[in-house]
């Protein structure tokens, strides 16, 4: 606490009050724990533990085939989860995403199979439908003032009804095996293409890091040390390299995984680097502050609900793609809960304003790993539900504890 002051004139070469304090890695971790800014580390460590446990119970767990399957498996629910992250960042909840996914799948099948609309236009129409659904729900929440919880609970029921209505009388509509939609989750990149995509990501990241560091240095701002930058670039290269190598040793990188990760990366950039993303964090952090800062809170809220429903509709398309059909069960069952749980396990705070798009990816990996491990061990879904519940609870407890840590730290 530097409450120096009094009458001494400000010392001319003001030792930048803002220079980064360099401290030991342990110090940083302890500090973060205390201040409640944990970032993604708990979930990454949790994921590693889960992998070690399942691998030791069944050595088929970490095989290329199983990991490939898992990658495709998580894409649909993971995509829905990206939308859920946005809503959670606002400090709200969307309970309708499962049903909206179901409506998306049903509308796609009805349009393309029953009415002969081309699959690509049908996908676009479904995405627009999703956006409209979200806009409606967001409007009722933001303008009429009904709690989001209730609006989307009504949506959960209502859109399920629409889904059943659309699928009547068949109940299930099959989509062609060789169509555009089916290919979304049944295509693998060639080995070369996989390496190229992986390399591009690493190069883009490294270039951004270097350029940013240079610009900061030129502006006279504290820059991250060379080693820190290198460690991060090499770390990313190792993770991506290992992923591509493993997936290539089976059938190649699944397109569905590229789509899912691509959506996560884009949303992360939107959230961290654009004015719109900053507005979402501001509304989630302190609505009153956002309003007084001149932000159009209602518009931000409506747009986020629109995005969430659009992601949900796209998730529904991926579900239909994976099972070659839209059925009454698409988007039902535990879809909603898994999508929300993934976001929360991925470290997105239920209290709003904290978290990252990568939470959807990490949380989906955790849940996908548990599901896949249980499947290999031939355990009932009863066990899977209970274990998933325990992991979710752990994530929420961590969230609440770190919130308390922050509160205590804030008053310190």
């Amino acid at each position: 606490m530097s409450t120096t002051t009094t009458s001494t004139p400000p010392p001319p070469p003001v030792e930048p009050a803002t220079a980064e304090k360099r401290s030991s890695p342990f110090g940083v971790v302890a500090e973060r724990l205390r201040s409640g800014e944990l970032g993604p580390w708990p979930v990454i460590i949790g994921l590693i533990i889960i992998w070690i446990v399942f691998q030791s119970l069944n050595d088929r767990f970490l095989t290329a085939q199983n990991l490939s399957n898992m990658a495709v498996q998580i894409a649909a629910a993971g995509t829905i989860s990206v939308g859920v992250v946005l809503v959670l960042l606002l400090g709200e909840i969307d309970l309708s995403v499962g049903s909206v996914a179901g409506v998306g799948a049903a509308a796609l099948a009805v349009l393309s199979v029953r009415h002969g609309v081309g699959e690509v236009p049908a996908v676009i129409i479904v995405l627009i439908l999703g956006a409209l659904i979200g806009t409606l729900q967001g409007f009722i929440f933001a303008k009429v003032g009904v709690p989001a919880f209730v609006v989307t609970l009504a949506g959960n029921l209502g859109w399920l009804g629409l889904q059943l209505y659309l699928l009547f009388p068949q109940g299930t509509i099959n989509i062609p095996y060789d169509g555009f939609v089916a290919k979304l989750t049944h295509t693998n990149l060639s080995r070369i293409a996989g390496w190229v995509v992986g390399a591009l990501i690493v190069v883009a990241y490294a270039a951004a890091a270097v350029v940013d560091g240079r610009r900061r240095a030129r502006a006279g701002l504290p820059t991250p040390s060379m080693t820190a930058t290198l460690v991060r670039i090499i770390g990313l290269a190792v993770v991506i390299g290992a992923t591509v190598a493993v997936l290539n040793s089976w059938q190649g990188v699944p397109l569905a995984l590229v789509i899912f990760v691509g959506l996560v990366v884009v949303m992360d950039l939107v959230l961290r680097r654009t004015r719109y993303g900053r507005q979402i964090f501001a509304v989630g952090g302190n609505v009153e502050a956002a309003r007084r800062a001149g932000m159009n809170v209602a518009a931000i809220r409506i747009s986020v609900f629109a995005l969430a429903s659009t992601f949900a509709a796209f998730g529904g398309i991926l579900f239909a793609s994976r099972s070659f059909a839209a059925s009454q069960a698409t988007g039902g069952g535990d879809t909603l809960l898994i999508a929300i749980a993934a976001a929360v396990i991925g470290g997105v705070s239920l209290f709003g304003g904290r978290g990252s798009a990568y939470g959807a990816l990490l949380g989906s990996l955790v849940l996908g790993s548990i599901a896949s491990g249980m499947f290999l061990l031939q355990l009932e879904s009863s066990v899977r539900y209970m274990i998933t519940a325990a992991v979710l609870l752990a994530a929420v407890i961590l969230d609440s504890l770190s919130r308390r840590g922050r509160a205590a730290h804030g008053r310190a």
């Binding site: 606490m1 530097s2 409450t3 120096t4 002051t5 009094t6 400000p10 003001v14 930048p16 009050a17 803002t18 220079a19 980064e20 304090k21 201040s35 409640g36 800014e37 940013d212 610009r215 900061r216 502006a219 006279g220 701002l221 504290p222 680097r273 654009t274 004015r275 719109y276 900053r278 964090f281 501001a282 989630g284 952090g285 302190n286 009153e288 502050a289 956002a290 007084r292 800062a293 001149g294 932000m295 709003g352 304003g353 904290r354 922050r406 730290h409 804030g410 008053r411 310190a412």
Partner: protein, 292 residues
């Protein structure tokens, strides 16, 4: 509703509003139903001057600030900005004129870092991409010129102390290059050291040539930084004083309403005792208020 008071102001000791005031208000009235929150009240602030606005709870201080800030415009009255009559009906009007307001609840986003909070709603961007580098540079410069000490401009505001948060809120109000800053109880809920920090900051605002209107219940703080004190009582002006020529007792008297209150009676007793002692004739050994 109430009578327009024109440009003239009725005041206790300070005379008419000082010439060259950046901002002056006259005949301001505001009613909330049956409550006259402000009746024919006036206030003026010059560049490079700290005016303290004091008064008991419910005296109308916050109402006055909200009228100036355009949050809750007055029903009646005249506002002069650099001598020209202006109307302020919404926060944007005040901001365009060059009036910045720091409310008691600071309206910071705890989850965002200092830079993001400073530029909240005024982000610098190239196209749609935020220009973090120029924001961080300007934030660092601003905080350095104000000698605000924080560990890093990239710390989330949640982990700052109360004084640091207040400093960030005040610094934010300066980004729009205002000429007048309104501070509603900036030192309430702060400890001694943190209060000193904020008072220093207020002095630096004055030294930069800003007009500062400071609401405070703490007369020690007011005494420490204010050049003039304007007192409101029950929505009316109850005196205006030049700080250097005024005793705390006079201010208290104006706040509470003369000779009526416990406070003034107690002071009268003390003063009487002191006067008696000064004369030196009848030294009363039993005087209980010997000290001070």
């Amino acid at each position: 509703m109430s009578e327009q008071a024109g440009g003239t102001t009725r005041q206790g000791d300070g005379g008419p509003s000082p010439d060259g005031a950046v901002l002056s208000l006259a005949g301001i009235s505001k009613r909330f139903g049956a409550v006259h929150a402000l009746s024919d009240a006036s206030l003026a602030v010059k560049a490079g001057e700290v005016v303290a606005l004091v008064g008991d709870n419910g005296a109308g201080k916050s109402t006055m600030i909200k009228a100036i800030a355009g949050v809750n415009p007055a029903d009646d009255g005249e506002i002069l900005w650099e001598g020209r009559p202006v109307t302020i009906t919404k926060p944007h009007d005040a901001a365009t004129l060059g009036i910045a307001t720091v409310y008691q609840d600071l309206a910071l986003c705890d989850n965002l870092d200092v830079v993001a909070n400073l530029f909240l709603g005024n982000e610098v961007a190239n196209g749609i991409v935020l220009d973090e580098i120029s924001m961080e540079r300007r934030a660092t410069e601003l905080l350095d010129t104000l000698s605000v000490k924080i560990p890093s401009v990239r710390t989330p505001v949640a982990s700052l102390s109360g004084g640091q948060r207040q400093s960030v809120a005040i610094a934010r109000s300066l980004l729009g290059e205002p000429k007048v800053v309104l501070l509603d109880e900036p030192t309430a809920a702060l400890g001694v050291a943190q209060t000193a920090q904020v008072l220093d900051l207020i002095e630096r605002l004055r030294d930069r040539g800003l007009g500062v209107v400071l609401i405070s219940h703490n007369l020690a703080d007011v005494r420490a930084v204010a050049d003039r004190v304007a007192v409101l009582r029950l929505g009316r002006n109850a005196g205006e004083f030049v700080m250097a020529e005024t005793s705390q007792e006079q201010i208290v008297e104006a706040i509470t309403g003369a000779s009526e209150s416990v406070v003034t009676r107690r002071q009268a007793r003390v003063e009487a005792a002191e006067a008696a002692r000064d004369v030196g004739q009848k030294r009363q050994a039993s005087d209980p208020q010997e000290q001070s």
